[in-house]
């Protein structure tokens, strides 16, 4: 069983280097940036969190959810309502409630879309969630209790005790801290035995079902987990911008998030963060020279990636094998060895 291709010989792990560098950069960035740019990067961090949730469901379980914005915006609205109608501003109440909202909404969506006698195809899930996103946005536009078209403006700032977390350095590190914690948590999950099952679901769901795994339950769990992450992201976003509106639940946001993740590289977690950073940063700069053309360019780039580099940007640096991971065991020398080990565990 000789190592198959030359690429596999070099056992260099690129992924941890990439992750480490990226987080180090984010850690030190605010010290060198002026206020407006700190806000800009904070936004990237928060949206990166959302993209992570998308990557979790699409890259790891094969659920093409074009409705992550429902969780994002829905949680944002819940937190905003708590803040404006009940006067709560403590971050220790609002953020967990955003997470809870994300969990509940994703549970409902999973129940409707994912569960059933037979599991749905990716096409159905994609369209079902997109449609749901569209319909809910329109519903909220007409509901005056939540502000209708206006949304809920003038949100107060988050507080810890008497300290206000204003946008800028404070909020930046709050978002950054949460991003790091969640990222590490998710990374640990997808590399564990649980993650092994997910990989199986992604690659060959039927076979796994035959082996006795309740694949739908696993998918549901992951979807709800992603829902919580998206909810947290939504809560952060709402208070960073000071405003929630129906657009934050709509298909534009939903598809934007999918773009971030697919661009960076699905199924790698860090790819989602990279994709978000890349698209937001490059987008801002490119639109200086070709303002209305940037979305066109974005579409063309996506097309190029889907056609020629489905692994996304990150596949330029990370090999396929490393992407799959080791699931808590020794590094595999070849892909076939990995598959065999998978059978052992099953």
């Amino acid at each position: 069983m000789a190592p198959a291709a030359s690429g596999l010989k070099a056992d260099r792990q690129a992924l941890p280097w990439i992750e480490g560098t990226l987080f180090a950069v984010f850690l030190l960035m605010p010290l060198a940036l002026e206020h407006f740019w700190v806000l800009f990067v904070t936004r990237i961090l928060i949206l990166g969190l959302l993209a992570l949730s998308f990557d979790l469901v699409w890259g790891y379980v094969g659920i093409l959810s074009f409705g992550q914005a429902l969780l994002f915006g829905g949680a944002g609205y819940c937190a905003a309502l708590l803040a404006t109608k009940l006067g709560i501003t403590s971050v220790l109440v609002l953020l967990p409630s955003a997470v809870l909202a994300g969990l509940l909404i994703s549970f409902v969506i999973a129940a409707i879309v994912l569960f059933g006698k037979r599991s749905p195809t990716a096409v159905f899930v994609a369209l079902g969630t997109l449609t749901g996103s569209y319909v809910v946005e329109r519903l909220l536009r007409g509901w005056s209790y939540v502000g209708g078209q206006n949304g809920i403006p003038s949100l107060p700032r988050l507080t810890i005790g008497a300290l206000e977390i204003e946008e800028g350095i404070r909020f930046y590190y709050l978002a950054f801290g949460l991003l790091v914690v969640i990222y590490l948590g998710l990374r640990w999950i997808v590399r564990s035995q649980f993650g092994l099952v997910l990989a199986g679901i992604r690659e060959q769901e039927e076979r796994l079902a035959f082996l006795g795994y309740q694949t739908q339950n696993y998918k549901g769990i992951v979807f709800c987990l992603a829902g919580m992450v998206a909810g947290l992201s939504g809560g952060l976003y709402a208070f960073h911008e000071g405003f929630v509106g129906p657009a934050q639940l709509g298909p534009v946001f939903s598809t934007q998030v999918a773009l971030y993740s697919m661009f960076g590289g699905a199924g790698t977690l860090i790819g989602a963060v990279i994709g978000t950073s890349f698209i937001e940063a490059v987008g801002y700069n490119v639109s200086q020279y070709w303002e209305t053309g940037w979305p066109i360019l974005l579409g063309l780039l996506l097309l190029a990636i889907v056609s020629y580099r489905p692994g996304g940007l990150i596949s330029l640096l990370v090999s396929e094998r490393e992407k799959i991971g080791t699931f808590g065991g020794k590094a595999a020398a070849t892909v076939s060895e990995l598959t065999e080990r998978f059978h052992e565990h099953a």
Binding site: R43, G148, Q149, P153, E241, G242, Q288
Partner: protein, 411 residues
Amino acid sequence: MSTDSKDEILKSHSRRLFLQRTALFSGMIALGGGSYLFNPRGAWAADPIKVGFALDLTGPISVQGLPCANVAKMLVEDINAKGGVLGRPLQMFLEDTATNETLAVTRVSKLVQKDDVDVVIGGITSSMRNAIKDTIVNRGKKLYLYPQLYEGKECTANIFCTGPTPAQQCDTFVPWLMKNTGKKFYFTGADYIWPHTLNAYAKNVVEKNGGEVVGEEYSPVDQVEYGATVHKIMANNTDVVFTTLIPPGLPVFVKQLYEAGFMKRGGRVASVLYDESTMSISSPAETEGLASCLDYFRAVEDSFSKQLFEKYTSLFGTKNPLSAAGGSTGTYRAVKLWEVAAKEAGSVARDAVATALDHAKIAEGPGGGAEIVSGTRHVRMNMYTAVAKGGKFDIVDKSNGPVAPGECLRS
């Protein structure tokens, strides 16, 4: 046209498209992400005063946003040509709010945080104003002038409204409608705060004057199917349809009313959103007889208004004309009143200017002069009622001098 070669036709088409935006953007620098900067010409001794404009340059409301931006640019150049304000030139920062509240908040925060402008003028729909006002006034701690006609009740400190209020648009308009058409009113509107509030005010006036409200309906902003509504209107023998719908639904609604024969049998549509600019979204046949009440129409007689219109048209062409329902006349008032206040205050600091603005007055403007009613942050101005005929507006009624806005009377 048929003798032109194909090349010429293509060139003239792209040229026309190019021109309508070029006139506004000529001389401006595109900063990316919907931001534009217009620098003062010539050499100046002092630092510029930064003036921020947040307007919809794209999206459904762009038909209103572009003329506002045009007026802004025209006035900034004008003021600079006459020596600026307090010896300093005006530097114009323009953000495209793109009819998208979520995007607008981000862009406006850029105006107040990154560009650090001294005043923000803009926001057209009420939902836009509500989305961005906190960013400007609370987080950004800047002065905010809102130029568009709206539903009233905006009494937040440091926000000044230079567009018509319900009292100004309904108190004489509704009785005129009842006298000249009939007493049965049907109210329609888009489902958000301005239509609801304005309709409520108008309904009050109708009932106080002995009229009858035979129906009231609100639709989602992007609804483009009004068959059911039109049918109810016809079935209830409505005389006047008072509508606060906005594009894209508004032209479709008017068209469906027309096709159902409402106008043919003597009914009238009243929409305060129709001005010379809005007319282009409907055909002249569909708007024949339509009534509107605004602070300015092209047919207004005074020479200043006519000169202003001529100057605007020579600079920007006829595609997005100066007109009142879109906020461009309000933008005029906002910029000029601010200029007067800053000169009186001797500074551009927010509190100083706000104090001076409290009683600021301009003697001339489109439709007449304007004056802020002390303590209310709203503007007293002339109002005109006009009826559409052959695609143009004829003025049928003019107010007796400036009309009080009737807002924030106890603040």
